[in-house]
Each structure stands twice: as C-alpha cells, then as structure tokens.
C-alpha cells in the first residue's frame, strides 16, 4: 500500500514538472538582460524596473484582476443557482437546459465576441468595464454549472427530504444542507471561472472600448512586435502573488476549519 502511494507521488511529481516547466521558463527569462526569450543574457532586474515605470500596464493589471474576480463571483452565484434549477428539471427540459448551458463553451470566441458586440451596441450599453464584466460573467457561467452539477447529483435526495421533514424552510435547506455539501464544487467553479476570465482574449477584444483594456488584449496586440520580457516579469509577479494567496488561503482555511470543528464538537457536547 505504501509503495503504491510512493509511485503515485512520483507520477504526480512528473505531472507537476510538466505543468510548471513553461512557467519556470518564463520566469527565468524575466531575469534575462536580453530582449527576447531566445538566449539567456545574464541576470538583470531591468524588466521589473520597466514594468513598475509603466503606469499603463499597472492600470491594465488592476482592471484585469478586478474584472476576473468580480465576474467569477457573480458567475459562480448565477451558475450555482442554475445548477440547482437544472437538477430540479426533468427529462427533455433538463437535457435542453444542459445543452443550452454548453453553447457558450463550444462556440468559438470570435463568434461569441462578435455577437456580444452586436448585442451590446443594439442595447446601447457603453463599451468598457460594464460590457467586459457582463461578457465575462456570461461565458464563465457554463463552467461553473459543469463543476457544481455533479456535486448536486451526488447529493442524496433523502438528505434534503429529511431536512424538509424536520421543518426546514427552503432557505434553511439550501444554506444548511445543500450549499455546504456542494461547496467543493462551488469553489472549483469559482477558480475555473477565474481561469476563463484571466485567459480570455477574443471576446474581451470585441466588447472592450473607451480606454478600457485587459492584460490578454494587450499581450496579443503586442505580439506583432514580439513578446516583451516586461510581460514575463509581470507574469512572474502575478504568479508569485497567486501562489502566495493560495498558500495563505490554505493555511487560513485549515486553521479556521480546525477551530470550527472544535466549536462543533463543543456544541455537540452541550446538547
């Protein structure tokens, strides 16, 4: 049994090496004094200095993160409600809801972007922060549903029925029974939504305007001149910050989790 886990860890280590190899590569070149990702030219902080002097870039980063964090949040809420709705629907309805849900995942970004652009101009929504936010919410919802739905399906109906039998209101059943049980799915959905939002270029490109820009749009537009190592420096920083956040979140939640458990035990004792 022990040996099996050891092999598993070796395998996992290999997967991590593959997942992180390109990122490590980017990070190494952010410290190169050269101008491109071709040959390493000796250590330098030049690109970091450039980055901090580039107020346009900093504004764009703030915009990008703001849109991503906020859009994912709203998408997660709507998507979770949607998944609950799909669960309650039956037969043909359910299948068509599920299919409609996935339309945005399969449609190429150009089509989505172009049709959203037409849609926003018809409605008279000013292109900029709001239109980008709405689009990001829109294309992140399906992945949230896909992440939450299996969790809901696994939820034993008897558990929910029991809650109702014990006199729980709908809201109580939702907040005390359903949501805690599906929270891993919700959190996973949030992070996937974040991924979609941070990476999107084509949709954002079409629906942005009036001085508002996101990182992907900027990076793609700069590609004509070759990827600037300033962007490597930026990615390195963003990566390290997210890593720090993930580690921080982990320790906080672990700590909080332990305390919660203690409280729960005490309450149990009191009863």
């Amino acid at each position: 049994m022990k040996r099996k886990v050891a092999w598993g860890k070796v395998y996992l280590g290999l997967v991590f090496v593959i997942l992180y190899a390109p990122i490590l590569y980017l990070m190494i070149f952010s410290f190169s004094s050269g101008k491109t990702m071709e040959r390493y030219h000796g250590f330098s902080f030049q690109h970091y200095a450039d980055l901090f002097a580039d107020s346009r870039m900093i504004t764009i980063v703030i915009n990008t993160v703001l849109v991503a964090v906020l859009a994912s949040l709203i998408a997660t809420i709507v998507g979770t409600l949607g998944a609950l709705a799909i669960k309650e629907s039956r037969g043909a309805w359910r299948n068509s809801l599920l299919s409609l849900n996935n339309v945005l995942m399969v449609s190429p970004d150009v089509i989505i972007g172009a049709s959203f652009l037409i849609f926003f101009t018809v409605l008279g929504i000013r292109l900029g922060f709001i239109s980008v936010l709405l689009s990001h919410i829109a294309f992140s919802i399906p992945i949230v549903v896909l992440m939450v739905l299996p969790k809901i399906n696994e939820l034993s109906p008897t558990l929910v029925d029991a809650a109702y039998d014990l006199g729980a209101t709908r809201w109580q059943a939702l907040s005390r029974v359903i949501l805690p049980a599906i929270s891993p799915g919700i959190i996973a959905g949030y992070f996937m939504a974040l991924t979609y939002s941070l990476d999107d270029f084509a949709v954002t490109f079409f629906v942005t305007g009036n001085g508002f820009s996101t990182l992907s749009v900027e990076i793609y537009s700069r590609a004509r001149q070759g990827v600037n190592l300033e962007i490597n420096a930026l990615s390195t920083l963003m990566f390290l910050v997210s890593l720090a956040l993930v580690i921080g979140y982990y320790f906080v939640s672990k700590h909080a989790g332990r305390r919660q458990r203690v409280v729960a035990v005490k309450e149990g004792d009191a009863q």
């Binding site: 703001l66 793609y220 001149q225």
Partner: protein
C-alpha cells in the same frame, strides 16, 4: 457555509481594494480636465515617451487602445460603441473603410506637417491624393534566411524557394494574400489578380512548394527564425528587422522581380469625437524629430523624408529595409478586392493548407 461566506467577503473586499486602486491610477493620469484623444493602433507600435510628450504639450489625455488585426479593428469601428479619433489601418483596409464611408476626409490645410512626407509614398492607388490617410510606416514582403544554412545567392528570387534543397525548411506567413502574392509574382501576374484561372494556376504552383513548407505561421515566426528552427522564411520587413537584431545570422531580401509594399496609415474615422485633437496628434507624429524617435523605437521604415535624415546612416543606407529604386518600382500594393474574390483567395489557401501533409 461559513467558509463560503468568508470567501465571499474576502472577494468583495478584494474588489473594493482593486476598484480603489483603479480609481487612483485613473486620477493620476487623467489630471488634466478630461479632454481626451482616443488612438486605436497596433500594440507596441508607438514610442510611449511620445504619448507622454504629446500629453504634456497639448494637455490632452491620450487613451491608447490596441488591436491585433485590421479585420478585427474594422469590425469594431463598423459596430461603433467607442469613438476613436485616430486609427492606424493598413492600406487595403483604408480602401475598404473608404468604401464603407467610415472615414472622414482630411482637411489638408490643417495638416501643417504633411510636407515632410516623401513624395514617393503619397498619392498611391489605395488613396489618391491622400484624401483620407497619412502614411505612418511602410515596409515590404520578402525572404529572410539564415546564412549558416543557406548561401545568399540561393534566395534572391521567389522562384528559388521551390528548390528541393529547402525541403521541410521553409516557413510561410499565414495570410492568403501574401502567400498568393509570392506565387503570382513568380508566374508574372499582378498580386491583385481577380482572374480565377490564374489563381487556380498559382495554387497549383503552390502545391509544388508543399514539400518545402515546414509550417504556416504568423507573428511567432520571429521566435522560430531567431531560434534557428528553419533556414528560410517569408515575412514582412518589420518582423525581419526584429529577428535580425536578435540573431545576426539572419538576412532579409526583397526579391528584385517584385513584391508587396505595405503602408500603415493614420486616418480619422467619421465617428471621431475630437477631430481637433486628431489633427494635432497627426501633426505631432509628423514632426521630424518625433517621427525619427518613433522610427527608432518601432524599427520600421519611415515615410517621413525629414525624419529619415535624422536617423543614423547605418539604418537608412540599409538596402534590406530601404530598397534601391530599381526594386522599389516593382513593388505592388494590395488593393481591396471584392469580397467574392477575397473569398476565392481564402478558400484556395485553405485547400492548400489542408492537403499539405
């Protein structure tokens, strides 16, 4: 549940923080009372120091937005939603925009620095009399090769690319017009031909090139050539220059029998909000010292005669980027073809790509 609430609060707090940061950054850069000029250009296609200088000189705030292709830019302009004051399309797109009545005619009395531009780059087919456009940069389509793998005399002409010595060693640019231009010129036709049988012939000719073609790519060709991935590539002069600054074994050739010459141009869309500022900006960019500074930053060839004089001799005497007159007269610009014909180019190109393996 507590965990979810905690996460929710954390995210909202983060949003507030970011919104505050955004607000502060905006206030810092928008200090001058909200007169704004919106420029729509390719990414990294202007020296940022010039934007700052323009803001200081005129008191305008410049919103610099970027696009990655003429076509996607056009889609946005057509649809509206943002009022761009100055846009920098390539020449065939200028023609298209003109046809679709998206451009405002230029008032040449207000273009006080227009006379700095070299006569050779004015009054071209795509915009007779420069009624709508002012050249920003220009360049060519040509052959880039690595002197460690190829002798210079083997790649002076388009037809030499068909030589079996380049088996699986040629990179092409992913653009129907450019690839067909290469084939059409070798068979002595115009790069703007609308004759289907000539196109079909060109495609047939291209099929014979397939064993040599290693990949059909776009901007990333720079990285591939820099990294010695292939011996020969077909690319634009601007990209070639970038590659050569990194890898000194690379050289660029504009075939003397002819090639494409392209222009990126400043135009003012009809929907512009601040035309006054747009003229000021165009004049500012045409100032010889500004144009020279910009050319040095971007690295493309400048159409500005006075600015060219300010550039180092080593740059302007380089025939790879400022080709001799004998070659210049064989260069052709792309015309905006009817969409039906453009569709034929693209379908034939798709077929060429599909049946390549």
């Amino acid at each position: 549940m507590k965990k979810l609430w905690g996460a929710l609060l954390g995210i909202i707090a983060l949003c507030c923080l970011l919104a505050l940061g955004d607000y502060l950054m905006n206030r810092q850069s928008n200090g001058t009372g909200g007169r704004t000029l919106t420029v729509y250009n390719w990414g990294d296609y202007i020296d940022p120091a010039l934007i700052k200088k323009f803001e200081r000189q005129t008191g305008y705030h410049v919103d610099y937005e970027t696009f990655d292709s003429n076509e996607s830019m056009l889609t946005k302009i057509r649809q509206g939603g943002t009022n761009y004051d100055v846009v920098v399309p390539s020449e065939y797109t200028v023609q298209r925009m003109k046809k679709e009545h998206l451009l405002a005619p230029l008032d040449h009395r207000k273009l006080t620095n227009f006379h700095y531009i070299d006569q050779r780059f004015l009054n071209k087919d795509f915009d007779p009399g420069n009624k709508y456009s002012v050249p920003y940069f220009w360049g060519t389509l040509g052959i880039i090769y690595n002197d460690q793998k190829v002798a210079g005399q083997d790649v002076q002409h388009w037809s030499q690319l068909w030589n079996p010595q380049f088996k699986n060693n040629l990179l092409l640019i992913d653009s129907a017009r450019d690839v067909f231009a290469m084939a059409l010129i070798t068979q002595g036709d115009s790069v703007n031909t609308t004759n289907y049988s000539k196109l079909k012939q060109a495609q047939h000719h291209l099929q014979a090139l397939t064993p040599n073609v290693k990949a059909i790519i776009a901007d990333e060709m720079k990285m591939y050539m820099e990294q010695d991935e292939a011996a020969v590539g077909v690319t634009y002069s601007g990209d070639a220059r970038e590659m050569m600054s990194v890898n000194h074994h690379l050289h660029y050739v504009v075939p003397s029998e002819g090639s494409n010459i392209w222009f990126d141009n400043m135009v003012i869309p009809k929907s512009a909000k601040n035309k006054q500022a747009a003229y000021q900006f165009i004049n500012f960019m045409l100032q010889p010292e500004n144009a020279a500074k910009n050319a040095e930053y971007v690295g493309y060839a400048t159409p500005n005669k006075a600015a060219k004089k300010l550039l180092p001799k080593s740059v302007t005497a380089d025939q790879q980027f400022y080709p001799p007159e004998s070659t210049m007269k064989h260069l052709q610009t792309y015309k905006d073809l009817p969409r039906r014909v453009l569709g034929e180019y693209n379908d034939l190109f798709l077929e060429f790509k599909m049946f390549r393996r």
